[in-house]
């Protein structure tokens, strides 16, 4: 699979919520090659501090030559990215990693996203042959964060359900609560979000014998499989490397209890 180091140009930056931004970048090589669930490594600023690139899921290929990133500001790197202005350039490496694998044709599936973990799911919904078969379950702290994203999934024809910690939108509680009723009908679950959410989703799917793919996070230096830094414990006792074995993995590959 092709990989590029590409100087993308910021085309647009939208603030979706207090700490949530959507970056639209012109990156023709990466846009043409990207598959849902893959990620890019982005340089956050013009100097040597912060030093390392940051991994971000490809949120969407919004045109043949552009990609979008959904960015939650949590530290110095994401803060610098959120200050980008149109016309500036952001160096990207990508598309990287293994993306989502196709479900059986036409069967109903669930996409489960928590917080910033919603990012890769829109691209996936976009590329799934029949979005109507998608139930998209989105969880977040507050409703504000979900407004734009819910609309985007709905536009694709997905059925969207939401859960918020503060009850300001949809179910007042966890997104996993929304998943349980679906497990009797869906043929596959795709989940991305905080580790405890993924663990809960994996456990629920396992009980219900529904195949489940999860997109994991780990601190990364290279994103290329070279530094061996991005380890998570695997179910077989060996270490998995998120950037190469994932970020999307079958839930049963992962050692959830460690």
């Amino acid at each position: 699979m092709p990989e590029y180091q590409e100087n993308s140009i910021v085309q647009k930056i939208d603030r979706l919520a207090e700490t949530l931004y959507r970056l639209t970048l012109r990156a023709p090589l990466i846009a043409a090659a990207a598959r849902p669930g893959q990620f890019v490594m982005a340089t956050c600023g013009p100097t040597l501090d912060p030093l390392l690139r940051r991994p971000f899921s490809i949120h969407r290929c919004s045109g043949p030559e552009t990609i979008q990133l959904l960015i939650r500001v949590i530290g110095r790197g994401t803060e610098l990215l959120a200050r980008c202005r149109p016309g500036e350039s952001v160096s990207l490496i990508g598309p990287l990693g293994r993306g989502f694998r196709l479900p059986a044709p036409t069967t109903p599936v669930c996409l489960v996203g928590g917080g910033i973990g919603i990012a890769p799911l829109l691209f996936w919904a976009d590329r799934l042959d029949a979005p109507e078969r998608c139930a998209v379950l989105l969880g977040s702290r507050t409703g504000e964060e979900l407004t734009e994203l819910t609309a985007a999934f709905s536009q694709l024809g997905c059925r969207v359900e939401t859960a918020t910690d503060d009850g300001s939108l949809g179910h007042h509680g966890l997104v996993i609560d929304l998943l349980i009723p679906h497990l009797t009908t869906v043929s596959k679950v795709y989940a991305c979000g905080p580790h405890p959410m993924l663990a809960a989703v994996a456990a629920a799917c396992r009980s219900a014998r529904v195949p489940c793919e999860v997109s994991l996070e780990a601190h990364m230096a290279c994103g290329l499989g070279a530094c061996l830094g991005c380890t998570v414990p695997g179910a077989d006792g060996r270490y998995l490397h998120v950037c190469k074995n994932g970020p999307v993995m079958a839930a049963e590959e992962v050692a959830w209890n460690r």
Partner: protein
């Protein structure tokens, strides 16, 4: 000085090992080269040094293994590697095609391990030299790192030299009082060249959770942050030994690399920079060429050790 129009000669020799240019990639930062094949024109590099190889496969340290620090990073990979057998069977086929010199970084728990590794790698087609990582703990000596005791470093060097006819580069640890004493010991023991520096030992703590940020608590510091220390050590060592020195530590631009060449390094290795800018090594080759033109030098060998100290 007149600008030179003919392409400057970039070739250098590390003792018995000739390189098309002085830019290598550092062990542990370039995988087994295949990982970078789509991003880096490998044949334009002077060479690659592969991830450290041990006799048996190692699974490495528990996560987290990587922390960013100011202008640097800590890693505690724990020498995860596929082991020498799988390295030869699975990784060498690609490495033989990459069009540049291939150096294998080796590591062990005992002097015998190093010798056995060297013997196993000798005669394998496509391997042009060994780099001996002596920053590892000597399990027979209570875990003191080989690279912090001159006699232990010399013993490893002698054992590896006796086990192979490949060029042997010994890679020094910077975590010592007297780097020159280490260099002398290893040079006297027969090393064909030295490379320095390996990482400095560091640590990071998460204030909120009060836990170490690395699974292994301590790790190796690399990147631009350590460049001034590396450059000083290379300058001291290059002045003190008769064998070639490879400069390593925080090199990310041609200017960085040139600083090391001026200080006396015959070649350089690019490490952490491969992560934040995979194009770095290639840019450095081109940048050294530009610099030589600007300085009116027809060969890179003319600038090695040409630091001007007179007022």
């Amino acid at each position: 000085m007149e600008p030179v129009t003919a392409a400057p000669d970039l070739s250098v020799s590390l003792g018995p090992l000739a390189l098309a240019n002085p830019v290598l990639t550092a062990s542990g930062t370039f995988g087994y080269a295949a990982e970078f094949a789509q991003l880096v024109p490998l044949s334009r590099l002077g060479g690659v040094v592969v991830k450290g190889i041990s006799l048996a496969p190692r699974s490495g340290n528990p996560p987290p293994r990587i922390v960013e620090t100011p202008c640097g990073m800590l890693n505690a990979i724990g020498l995860e590697n596929v082991g020498v057998e799988r390295f030869i069977s699975d990784k060498m086929p690609f490495l033989r095609t990459c069009g540049c010199r291939v150096l294998v970084n080796i590591l062990g728990d005992s002097v015998e391990d190093y010798a056995t590794l060297a013997a196993k790698l000798t005669g394998v087609a496509g391997i042009h030299g060994l780099e001996v990582n002596i920053s590892c703990p000597n399990v027979k000596k209570g875990g003191v790192a080989f690279g912090t005791v001159p006699e232990m470093a010399a013993a490893v060097t002698r054992a590896v030299k006796a086990a192979t006819d490949l060029p042997v580069i010994v890679k020094l640890s910077p975590n010592v009082t007297d780097i020159v004493a280490m260099a002398h010991a290893v040079a006297t023991a027969g090393a064909d060249a030295l490379s320095l520096i390996n990482t400095l030992i560091g640590m990071a703590i998460d204030a909120r959770t009060r836990r170490p940020k690395l699974g292994n608590v301590i790790g190796g510091l690399s990147g631009p942050a350590i460049k001034p220390i590396a450059l000083r050590m290379v300058w001291q060592v290059a002045a003190a030994v008769d064998i070639p020195v490879i400069g390593i530590g925080g090199i990310g631009t041609a200017e960085d690399a040139i600083e090391f060449l001026l200080a006396g390094a015959t070649a350089v290795q690019v490490g952490t920079a491969n992560f934040y800018n995979p194009a770095a090594a290639g840019e450095i080759v081109a940048g050294i060429e530009d610099y030589l033109r600007q300085q009116g030098e027809s060969s890179v060998r003319a600038i090695i050790g040409s630091l001007r100290l007179e007022a």
